[in-house]
């Protein structure tokens, strides 16, 4: 799976071709606008409409409930743990995979793709079967009075599982494309491994890393299926924001549900904005690196 949508979507005006007949162009543009409008823009708009149905006062009141507050705090906590851990993993995996050839490399790559192919429900289930009361480690954990499932650690683990590919999948192709010559040059000049990493590798991949972090964070904060299986839905304790939305929705408290949902929708919009900005940066960096390899003045 070389290219999945987490790769950079490329948009460049240089590829625009206007040579199709006018009516074809008009029809296709109309279909595109209509299709994206109905399928993407409409749901987005409906969230805010539903949230504000009873006025801004009721909207704001939805956030003032302690449960909502607790859910937001838990979501922030989970992503504050999951994202850094996955950044470290992503950097380590990218260094091993993009800089070395070794037996089992493809197995590792496939393993990194795995969460993309597995249903989020299964991602949660596997932890229930490992740490739950009837799972492998459940009895032992119970004896020592440790709780993983239906508690914060389980939520963190499930989130780690569904989000760990994002950083690695962004960095591996980027580092492979950049090649290791600069790092070799640094080595020849006497740099240590950490010096190479901090002074050469990290600055070179910083935008790609940021891109991965943005996607990883969006998923960590928004994950529903996997977290839903392991959380136990204990109000005020193990409810993340998406789970809180679900509970409100199932209680027919639609305004509050959509109000809290609008927070996540805003997060999605910010994510898209940042993502677009970073893509632009990365593309420019790539163009520069391509130009510097050509060996002539740009």
């Amino acid at each position: 799976m070389k290219r999945t949508p987490t790769d950079m979507p490329p948009v460049a005006a240089t590829h625009v071709r206007e040579n199709d007949p006018r009516w074809v162009r008009a029809t296709l543009i109309a279909i595109t606008v209509l299709f994206l409008g109905i399928f993407l823009a409409l749901p987005l708009a409906s969230i805010f409409t539903e949230a504000l149905r009873k006025g801004i006062g009721v909207y704001l009141a939805s956030f003032r409930q302690p449960d909502a507050y607790a859910a937001i705090r838990l979501t922030l906590l989970v992503s504050a743990i999951a994202v850094p851990l996955n950044v470290v993993f992503g950097l380590a995996a990218a260094w091993a995979i993009a800089r070395f050839r070794f037996c089992g490399r493809n197995v590792l790559l496939t393993l990194i793709d795995l969460p993309f192919a597995v249903s989020p429900v299964i991602s949660g289930l596997i932890y229930v079967l490992l740490f739950g009361l009837h799972g492998w480690l459940g009895p032992w954990l119970n004896e020592h009075d440790l709780q993983v499932i239906f508690a914060v650690p389980g939520i963190v683990l499930a989130t780690l599982f569904v989000t760990f590919p994002f950083v690695a999948r962004e960095l591996i192709p980027l580092m492979e494309e950049q090649g290791s010559e600069e790092e070799l040059a640094a080595r020849v000049l006497g740099a240590s491994g950490w010096q190479i990493f901090w002074r050469i590798t990290l600055p070179n991949v910083r935008w790609g890393l940021l891109y991965g972090v943005i996607l990883c964070n969006a998923r960590a904060m928004g994950e529903f299926g996997a977290v839903s299986v392991v959380s136990g839905h204990i109000r005020g304790l193990t409810n993340t924001v998406p789970l809180h939305v679900e509970i409100l929705y199932n209680e027919y408290n639609f305004v509050a549900a959509f109000a809290v949902a609008s927070l996540l929708a805003l997060l999605a919009l910010v994510t898209l904005g940042l993502k677009t900005a970073v893509e632009w940066k990365v593309r420019r960096d790539r163009a520069e690196s391509a130009a510097s390899r050509e060996g002539s003045t740009p």
Partner: protein, 279 residues
Amino acid sequence: MWHIGRTNSPLPGFRLTLGYSVLYLSLIVLLPLAALLAKASAASWSEFWRIALDPRAVASYRLTLGAALAGALINAVFGFVVAWTLVRYSFPGRRLLDAIVDLPFAMPTAISGIALTAIYARTGWIGQWLEPLGIPVAFTPLGITIALTFIGLPFVVRTLQPPLQELEVELEQAAASLGASRWQTFCRVLLPTLLPPLLTGFALAFARALGEYGSVVFISGNMPMKTEITSLLIIVKLEQYDYTGAAVIATVMLGASFAILLGINGLQWWFNQRHRAGA
């Protein structure tokens, strides 16, 4: 299992980074997966198949496969048009539309789920027009299909955009100079080049739809035998403390996902081979 032999790069850090990656993956992925397979294999062979082929499970497979397939097909058609338009034409709002294509990735699935339900419910923006026509959407397989279309769209568009951009102008001009009509050029020159990525995008969207949960549960209604998708069935079994049942169904789903993953890798390989041969 891992051959930690020195590779020929003089860069440092190989053992450290590979060791850390493998350890991390083992703890986060391999160990829990092993727990799943162990649980599933706790059931005897006949027990396994009894659970896996239970009518309620089979109904959920049929629904999930059917809706995922329908969603992926819709995306293949409209995703193609969207990718084509976004790459080849310039019009006001193009960049905005291009950015918004990723919305299904960025939006938490539960939020998409309740938003779609709100739109297609009997009183919703679209539902109120379809309901009088005798086309109920919410709480029907059609609703599930719509949710899976939503979730799969970016896969097709984003897989098609790069090859569409790489299409050489000369290719079309050459075809035109040889007397091909625009339609002939499209069918005989462009489509064959774009077919592999289109298939890949289709397969990716399909794979994603098979396992989708959050965006579907709200709009599906979750009636056993009618609108219960397989992911939900796993949760139902879990809530009944039927861990073995959940593990068995999950194993079946995992098997299907792996088959598709292999298929996608095969497609990519085929695509690359052709690409290389053509280059």
